[in-house]
Amino acid sequence: MQAIQEITKANPSIAGSIEIPQTRAVIQLDNIHKTYTMGDVQVHALRGATLGIRAGEFVAIMGASGSGKSTTMNIIGCLDRPTKGTYILDGQDVSELSKDERADIRSHKIGFVFQGFNLLARTSALENVELPMLYAGVSGAQRHERAMQSLAAVGLAGREQNHPNQLSGGQQQRVAVARALVNDPALILADEPTGNLDSRTSVEVMEIFQRLNRERGITLVLVTHEPDIAQYAGRIVVFKDGKIRKDYPVKDQRDAAEELKNLPAIEADEEDD
């Protein structure tokens, strides 16, 4: 493996012919290992995961707790670096980048959505959504305009001035989605985004994800342990003990927009309180 890595670094064209699958992958994880050291104990969170995701795919990652899903997401999101293995994002080897370079990649190419929303408290929805643009160096007028558009895209027009504690869980998660997509990322990573939401609100959030994926071609990687949520994706990857156990296309992909039409509308009003 080490030898192959050396070759890949020295000559990417050879690497392409050996390692990377035929279709051009936006994410190429290659034999990724991640070991956490806690005192004397070594935790092998990932033990050689190889995964390619093509541009415009909607992938659901599943697996038991502790199987390495979040670790994978952190590496894909350039929040963390693999202990071993290469990660090529959009044609660029990012496994050896510095902290600042990874921050810049997160700023421009990646949007995050977390289970716990992770919005800044006591800060309006608008300001929360403006935040990534502040770090990406977008001008003031543009920041405002794009944040407004982004909030409108997730159905929160008119809620711009609300603080997180004035919004329901579903609304907070939609603010987080608006924040994730405001810098026009190629990739959105969502780690259990519906974990704290009820079923209807989950469908609403999935509707937004499906729309972003279909209409804007944003690549989506979503971690979930709920099989029915995974059915909204086009492909399911199952982790077990730090390795990929299964990887298959979804046969009857669910359509959140269709399902929402059939749900009673009253609940939406309730949620707004």
Binding site: N74, G77, L79, D80, K99, D100, A103, D104, R106, S107, H108, F112, F114, N118, L119, L120, A121, R122, T123, E127, L131, P132, L134, Y135, A136, G137, R179, N183
Partner: protein, 407 residues
Amino acid sequence: MDLLNIIRVAFRALQRNKMRAALTMLGIIIGVSAVVAMVSIGQGAQATVQAQIDSIGTNLLFVSAGAQNVGGVRSGTGDSGTNTLTVEDLDAIKREVPSVSMVTPAVNARGQLVAGNMNWNTSIQGVSEQYPEVRKWSVQSGEFFTDSDVRTAARVLVVGQTIADNLFAGADPIGQTIRVQNLPFRVVGVMVRKGQDAQGRDQDDVAFTPYTTAQKKILGSPRLQIAYVSAVSPDATYTAQQQITELLRQRHKLNSNDPDDFTVRNMSDIAEAANQTNSTMTMLLACIAGVSLLVGGIGIMNIMLVSVTERTREIGIRMAIGARSSAVRSQFLIESIVLSVTGGLFGILLGVASSLAIPKLLGWPTLISMMAIVGSVIFSVMVGIFFGYYPARKAAALDPIDALRYE
């Protein structure tokens, strides 16, 4: 991310916890306002003393009867129990010390002045005709008495404005008669108004008569307590002091190991002592105030450290959405600077306000010092940077994943 945005982010973060920000600033506010007010008080006192000394003249020497008090400079009269200073001593000083230009004794007496049916109890000073020149204090109307008045112990008085106001109520006192111990005195002059001295005493509540008159007709004793001597120039005061001391020791037949039975002091000594006392006080006050500023700074560091810990998750979020470590560091550093500088500005306002109020409330003169203000601003910025740097570095060093996982 540019500086303006970082400042904006820092302000937003502080706004989210206004109460805490205000309390943190309080330490700096108190520190800076204390420094500004204390320096104002010290400089005010210094300026007053300096003005007083300038008006007296730096070539002035005091010769007083009796040894100098232990404990340093003491203005006012000499030891009243001694007879160690005589008119002959003064004549000798005038005659034999070349660096001395003028001499006037000052014989102190208190007495009741009566003019018609008006009464006034005041200080009567027996002096020589050279007094106005020696003390740089001239007459406003009439004339000071002459050397022949001194020789003949004439019953003449030159009065201060307070006496003129109180005994004659607007009428011209020149040529009027004032009775002292039932003896009639003729008023020959009125002194220029001097106002209050630094201690708030009325300097115009005084009457002058020839020292011979005071000794013979009021006190009935030839005793002298104090004399004012003018050196030929400010530079000559030290020489004059030496020469007077030598002369008086010789005249008093003191052995080489006897202590002086008189005291000679010059104005520059007194001025220096006063200035030194004042600058020591100013320094001391400023240092105490500076310590409170330091404590304020430590308060900022404390709050910033708490803030970094409390906001670990926030830091993680910022990093996850693309903030570089440097942006996080700048944010916390600027929050700290904003706290200390805003506190500093409020402190200056409060300090200037109290400097303006102190003369009215406490009667102490103040002089607002631009240097203290500029110094406080610079010091606040430095406090902000110094005490903000460590917490900011701690924030920037956080790992985004650990920070996000922080509960």
